[in-house]
Symmetry: C2
């Protein structure tokens, strides 16, 4: 295939990146604290699951060592010790069609960004959460994975923050799927206390299984607190007592308002937050 | 954000392409015959629908004129007169998050490839079609659009052709969604004769509304032939009399075998194919 670069026709013998063509790949966004990636093995476990599901034959060992070496150089050069590390793994280059050859070589992209501001007030007092109009797709084969097909998150996020958002004080939006299940936030997972019981949505047909979500599931287990993983219907939100959202960058943020209804601060919040801070 | 290029740390002030990060964009694959793009206005209509749905503020006029000028240069330089023109429109560059600023500038990528071989035998005798395990996602906001979130098509296509495919003589695979609706082929739309009536799946919650599909819908209308657009359940395939698949590159290809069951050649096939050939 051919394209124009700086007004010159160039032949692209290897084709072009399938991440660009089809979102054909995976990503991870990893928190770096004091020069160390936090929950590294959980991120690598999810990435590996994704590579298997997409049949991308990248060696985890080679990937990890490439990331570590690039991370070291990036940290040193930027002088950052707290940062956000973003990895993209693409299936590689191909011609224009969906099919690809057996010898296709995956790509790794490594990016370093400045860390998020710390949400001191949000972590303490909680945030306002609304429902999004944009749904999570129902796609059993890709559910749970952090793959690059994320237009729905982009559209949902634009309902919540940015120049298109209607309200200014909303922090996150919850997404349902076509069956009316509450799945997750636009950039977070959600835990809800429903009729006295902690619940987090089952992500078998929709959603991204976040690393912080997995960490919290294990925290509930280790602390002998009951947590049920199941589908949650939108109607159940009317009986929601308290809740929190989480992702690996911001940690665990209480929901103070859900659809303009005030919620109680979660009973588990302080313990969970302090355990999270301590594992860094 | 920073990355390594040729072992040097570079700062990416504008961030990176959101098509690469999130599949945040659209594409079109257009047949070029005798130097002219076929069904140009139908492709541009679908692209425009997608730009509106994704809220990408690209001017269609500027896009079309950029494509035409680049196409001319590419055809001249490669000496091709029949070709495949692939356009990708990305929302543009941003930092790592889902949100983006109001002043983000969309990108246009233009690629030219050699044309497909003509499927003389397939067009005449028909092809074998099976069911794919990979489903079409249910996502009402994106259904019908030719957006860049196409991992499911990639995975489904790999079930049909390429080194991972189990059978060698299968030409296309049909995809169902989570509700058990037959939606489309991995790279085509489908028309089925069910209990004596021509039907094509409604694409309101899943699938890509192909330009050839739209052309055929209008052909049925103009020729006073009944065609019903509705959801089709997988069970209905047991009563399928004949069928065909289509896309803008290959035209209209009869289904000779559906899940190893022989089908009759479609009654409309020759008329449809000759009308299609004549519009080029």
């Amino acid at each position: 295939m051919w394209t124009l670069e700086d007004n010159h026709v160039v032949e692209l013998e290897q084709g072009i990146d399938r991440a660009l063509q089809f979102g054909d790949g995976l990503f991870e966004t990893i928190r770096v604290v004091n020069g160390k990636p936090v929950l590294w093995s959980a991120h690598m476990e999810r990435l590996q699951k994704g590579l298997v599901a997409l049949n991308i034959p990248a060696s985890m060992e080679a990937l990890e060592s490439a990331v570590f070496s690039q991370l070291e150089t990036l940290l040193e050069s930027t002088g950052l010790s707290n940062a956000v590390l973003k990895l993209i793994v693409s299936r590689g280059n191909s011609q224009r069609g969906y099919s690809y050859s057996e010898d296709i070589t995956p790509f790794l992209y490594v990016y370093l960004s400045k860390p998020l501001e710390t949400y001191t007030e949000a972590l303490e007092k909680g945030v306002s959460v609304k429902m999004c109009d944009t749904q999570c797709s129902i796609q059993p084969k890709l559910a749970g994975l952090k793959h690059l097909n994320r237009i729905e998150n982009v559209l949902a996020r634009a309902e919540v923050v940015g120049y298109q958002a209607e309200e200014q004080d909303v922090f996150e939006g919850l997404m349902i799927n076509y069956l009316g299940h509450v799945v997750e936030g636009t950039m977070s997972n959600v835990f809800l206390k429903l009729k006295g019981q902690w619940v987090t949505p089952e992500l078998d047909i929709s959603g991204v299984a976040g690393v912080a979500r997995q960490w919290a599931i294990e925290w509930f287990q280790q602390n002998n607190k009951t947590l049920v993983i199941r589908h949650v219907s939108q109607e159940e939100l009317n009986d929601c007592q308290s809740g929190f959202i989480c992702n690996s960058q911001m940690g665990f943020v209480p929901i103070a308002k859900l659809n303009n209804q005030n919620l109680e601060l979660p009973d588990v919040m302080l313990d969970l937050q302090s355990a999270w801070m301590n594992q860094e």
